[in-house]
Symmetry: C2
């Protein structure tokens, strides 16, 4: 009987641990998915801005709106419990104690991408260069501080 | 000299092949990221609808808007070149020849998620059950046809 109880307790502790791990890693995968999608749409806007692909105002606007919607999402994935994840990741440890600065940069991303989405649709892509550049600088300023180079 | 040229040509062909592979697999990762994020937000709306977590009208609306924005995105990732990807995936081969049916289901997802986002914000979560259920059925009808069970 004691063995049975010990077995059940052990099973529950394992189940509990592994469930917690899955849940924590889901946050990592979640935020990585967000950044992957932002990069996808942003790069294709960049190709249009730089003239590597034809500029299509409608497509540009769709991508700018996608990026603005996505910019709202990653913050939720940065919970302190993910600090010790075993998944491969690029997050510098500074994220976990410079939270105010990090939140500001995240908010800056929301503001700059919303502005780009608002201006998107312009007939002349050159009218979008400034707003696009602001988003690019916003990405870079956060990456420089909080993203590990690989 | 001939050896050097052969070496360069070989290097370029390898580089070319591997670059093309990366590009094709990027489409797979892209669409998988979209579905991952849709699932993330949808599950948390489901927990509220089912009373497993507290209902928060503002949070529900944010998640519904996220899902509606995401619903626009996955179609772009289903290019036929990804059919033979070596990445793990759930796509049934029917997707590649039942394109009209598949596009209809994708469009149904856009419509039903947009409707849920519009209704979201309601004070009483029970008012959202029907619209939420429509999205759930839309997911399921596509999964039943085109998503391999693992």
């Amino acid at each position: 009987m004691r063995k049975l109880i010990a077995g059940i307790v052990f099973f529950m502790s394992i189940a509990g641990i592994s469930q917690a791990e899955v849940a924590t890693d889901d946050y990592v995968t979640y935020r990585q998915s967000v950044f992957n999608l932002m990069g996808w749409h942003f790069k294709q806007m960049g190709a249009m801005i730089q003239g590597r692909t034809d500029y299509d105002a409608t497509e540009f606007k769709q991508r700018a709106e996608a990026v603005a919607a996505l910019a709202q999402m990653p913050a939720e994935g940065f919970i302190p419990e993910t600090r010790d994840t075993q998944l491969p990741h690029h997050v510098k440890p500074e994220v976990w104690y410079q939270t105010e600065r990090f939140d500001e940069l995240m908010q800056g991303l929301v503001v700059s991408t919303t502005e780009l989405a608002k201006q998107a649709g312009a007939e002349d892509k050159d009218d979008l260069r400034a707003a696009f550049g602001k988003v690019a600088r916003q990405c870079k300023s956060c990456h420089d501080r909080y993203r590990e180079r690989m």
